[in-house]
């Protein structure tokens, strides 16, 4: 039995035992349901083995939403714990675990898949392509992300959650101070998901460079595709740094090396530097696609072309460049000296310039437009003032000398939630609502969507605005409780109330999905929003081959000019279309990766070796495999096209 002792939870509580039971029951229910409804074959053929970018996008989406609720439960637990002084709901250890997993889940396992969900669905359609450049790798990316997420999520029932913060600073995250396997989970699960992201970076960059429709030059690409290109370029340069940081961290924890230790020459600040050399560009990996979504939505619902297209492109390129030059501002107080701090202070504030350009471009796009306040537009318009508060407080934090006052307080927590929630979460919900008909062939209910927006927008501000004040009054972040004498109590209670409102907003989104799935009309046209870019030129939902005829592009807004100026979009006869074959190998390989990660977490070397060999066997299989794909015949395409047209009538 000693062997199994390692899997025990170091700090058990009734809540964790309840989660264990809940996870067990969910797994049993899923297995039973699939067997009872005889859906195993369907699941395998249509989803687990698919290489279709639209289906992979939907799988990313579902995972992201599940993770949003997992991270959201953590958030509610934190707000509940700090709602009143000296609360005993969570002890210090559990609070540490909860804020650590909240951060990791929200950034790595919610925001990242969410942006890749929308990129997967939208980018190939916007550029008029059949699929991404490497469909098989795309499936591998998704499954590696998914298995990384699952590995991270089992930590709290097997072996214990990580508890050193989402930044996992050494020496705290080292073996001396974090003795449970939690931080091993952190290192390995993010590593596995990170490899998937890096593969996506290669895939999308190649796709956008090589697979654009004839006539679509770089400066005629829709803005979302531009942001996707730049985002993936950042991924290519940032994620290898994370790979190495996690590798070195894993070696410190498992093999007793001295990279980040306090002895034998180790340097703990090296981790902080490596982490943020990845971590700050990561912020822009999340925000740039969001900027792309806002550009599309604002232009569509203002009935105007995007103001300052070229300056928009220029500013995202400049932002991507600066994103690598500001990482030190995350630890101004950790001893670099005034010269370094000054330089990074200036680069940090300089980012406000291209971002400001974008804000004004959106405002000028709306000027004199005939604005329609649909749900995506509400989020986009709501984003601008809220995000600006986040940006302005960011410049405050960027002043190195003033940062000594703000550092590690709730002021910082308020600031980055003011950037990430309107910046990323609002954009994702806006994009989700906007592209939903393209993915599923029906629209989300506008009325429920608007209710959800107001709950989320108000709940968000009520939750996070008080933190600016408690932070300036000296409430440190990551403290599990405080005494009544501090006077933080009432504002924290207000935050908790806001969090409940926010939660209701998200619940309304789920209800909206349920309601619309049941009651929404399936008779929608290909272009229900009267939009401007190519993805709206094909049917909703999109047939497997995307476009029957490859579109011919002559302007930035190909579809709009086709509709308004009669520019030809589809000409020529239908030809047979080459498609990639499905494959189960990405899924199987990722399952092996899961076991591989699990073996390393618990230092079980025999399974670790076996799974390492298994991973290489999968790669060798791919090398020898002959896979020429298949063709969809002209007749089949014509039949599908007719069927789609009948449906939308």
């Amino acid at each position: 039995m000693d062997y199994f002792d390692r899997f025990a939870i170091p700090h058990p509580s009734p809540a964790i035992y309840a989660s264990m039971v809940a996870i067990g029951l969910t797994v049993v229910a899923i297995i039973f349901g699939l067997t009872y409804f005889k859906k195993w074959g369907y699941l395998w053929r249509e989803w687990l083995t698919t290489v279709d970018h639209k289906r992979i996008g939907i799988m990313y989406l579902i995972s992201a939403l599940i993770m949003l609720f997992r991270g959201g439960v953590d958030a509610i637990m934190m707000r509940a714990q700090t709602a009143v002084p000296d609360n005993k709901l969570l002890d210090a250890q559990h609070y540490n675990e909860v804020f650590t997993t909240h951060g990791v889940v929200m950034i790595i396992f919610m925001a990242m898949p969410f942006i890749y969900a929308l990129m997967n669905v939208v980018v190939p359609l916007q550029i008029g392509a059949r699929d991404v450049a490497f469909p098989r790798l795309n499936a591998l990316s998704f499954w590696l992300f998914f298995m990384g997420a699952m590995l991270f999520n089992i930590s709290f029932v097997i072996g214990g959650s990580p508890d050193a913060g989402w930044t996992s600073y050494f020496p705290l995250a080292g073996n001396d101070f974090s003795q449970s396997v939690g931080t091993n989970y952190y290192m390995l699960s993010i590593q596995i998901a990170g490899i998937g992201t890096l593969i996506s970076g290669i895939n999308f960059t190649t796709t956008i460079f090589k697979m654009r429709a004839p006539g679509m030059t770089l400066m005629k690409m829709p803005m979302f595709t531009w942001t996707a290109l730049i985002t993936n370029a950042i991924v290519l340069f940032a994620f290898p740094v994370l790979t190495i940081a996690l590798l070195l961290g894993t070696m410190d924890r498992l093999f007793g090396t001295n990279f980040f230790t306090m002895t034998n020459g180790g340097m703990d600040m090296l981790w902080a530097n490596l982490f943020w050399v990845w971590g700050h560009p990561e912020v822009y990996i999340l925000i740039l696609p969001a900027f792309g979504i806002y550009s599309e939505v604002i232009s569509t619902f203002s009935r105007r072309n995007l103001y300052g297209y070229k300056s928009m492109v220029g500013s995202i390129v400049i932002i991507s460049f600066f994103s690598f030059l500001v990482w030190t501002h995350h630890f101004f107080t950790m001893g670099q000296g005034p010269l370094t701090n000054s330089i990074f202070s200036i680069t940090t504030m300089a980012i406000a310039i291209p971002t400001g350009i974008k804000i004004f471009n959106w405002l000028l796009t709306m000027r004199k437009g005939s604005i329609k306040f649909t749900v995506p537009m509400l989020y986009s318009v709501g984003f601008i003032p809220i995000f600006t508060i986040g940006g302005v407080t960011g410049v405050m934090l960027g002043m190195a000398s003033a940062d000594y006052q703000y550092h590690n307080t709730m002021f910082l927590v308020a600031h980055f939630h003011y950037t990430i929630i309107p910046g990323v979460v609002f954009a994702m919900i806006a994009g989700l609502t906007y592209w939903w008909p393209k993915m599923f062939g029906f629209m989300l209910n506008e009325r429920i969507g608007k209710w959800a927006f107001w709950f989320i927008a108000i709940g968000f501000n009520v939750t996070f605005f008080p933190m600016f004040f408690t932070g300036l009054d000296g409430q440190a972040r990551r403290m599990y409780t405080y005494s009544e004498a501090t006077g933080f109590g009432p504002l924290n209670m207000l935050s908790f109330a806001g969090a409940i409102v926010l939660m209701i907003g998200f619940a309304l989104i789920v209800y909206n999905v349920y309601y619309s799935t049941r009651y929404a009309s399936r008779n929608i046209s290909a272009d229900p929003w009267n939009a401007r870019t190519l993805e709206w030129a094909t049917h909703s939902p999109v047939p497997s081959y995307n476009f029957a005829i490859t579109p011919q592009v002559n302007s930035i807004e190909a579809l709009w000019d086709h509709k308004k100026k009669g520019q030809p979009l589809f000409s020529g006869p239908i030809e047979k279309i080459h498609m990639p074959n499905n494959s189960g190998v990405p899924f199987i390989m990722s399952c092996i990766f899961f076991v591989w990660g699990f073996s390393f977490v618990f230092s079980m070397w025999i399974p670790a070796i076996i799974t390492t060999i298994g991973i290489f066997v999968c790669m060798a299989h791919r090398s020898f495999e002959k896979d020429d794909g298949y063709y969809i015949s002209v007749k089949e395409i014509e039949d599908t096209e007719k069927e789609c047209e009948v449906q939308s009538r």
Partner: protein
């Protein structure tokens, strides 16, 4: 599959052209990976704790042999790709095989080097310097090891299937990978060994 006969075989289809570009982009990410290792190495190079410094453990002889083996292998794989472009399958296979043998010999010397370091008390756990030294060399060595298997698979495929757009594409991409490992080695040779011995 449309084949464009005006281009070399490895570029002749659209998928082939995408594969080559995709691999170049992958190499860009690899540059970043090794750049991070080098940056970490430079940060930790003098943090030797109670362990030995680079000047105390580096020996020129094995390093020169390794360099000679790997640089030669980069030349022979170049000849292999040249033979492939001329359509001479057997010559190509021979050059690829020589490349892999040189790679194998490189790996042998590197393994000797590693055991030597551990033997004289410069193991993975000794100090921050030894840890990053062995990790940087090890990451390069792991790439070479992977390349040996990959190259072997490609030789087998060319032997069995002949020079097709697909096999030519794979061989060409493998040659890019192999040249890249050489470039990394040149940096290791210059900035780890030579600088360390000075």
């Amino acid at each position: 599959m449309k084949i464009d006969n005006t281009l070399p075989l490895e570029y002749s289809t659209e998928q082939n052209r995408m594969n080559v570009l995709g691999f170049w982009i992958f190499l860009g990410a690899e540059v970043m990976l090794f750049a991070t290792l080098f940056a970490t190495y430079f940060t930790l190079a003098h943090r030797t704790g109670n362990g030995p410094s680079g000047a105390e453990i580096f020996e020129i002889a094995p390093v020169l042999i390794e360099t000679f083996l790997l640089l030669t292998s980069s030349f022979t794989i170049g000849l292999g790709v040249h033979a492939m472009r001329l359509g001479r399958k057997n010559a190509m296979i021979a050059f690829f095989a020589v490349t892999l043998l040189l790679g194998l010999a490189f790996l042998g010397v590197e393994i000797y080097e590693f055991t030597h370091y551990v033997h004289i008390g410069a193991g993975l756990q000794t100090s921050a310097f030894t840890a990053i030294l062995l990790t940087t060399l090890g990451t390069h060595g792991a790439h070479v090891t992977l390349g040996l298997f990959w190259g072997l698979f490609i030789i087998l495929q060319v032997k069995k299937r002949g020079l097709t757009p697909e096999t030519a594409n794979k061989s060409f991409i493998f040659s890019l990978y192999w040249h890249f490992l050489d470039v990394v080695w040149i940096f290791i040779f210059s900035f780890v060994y030579l600088k360390g011995m000075m």
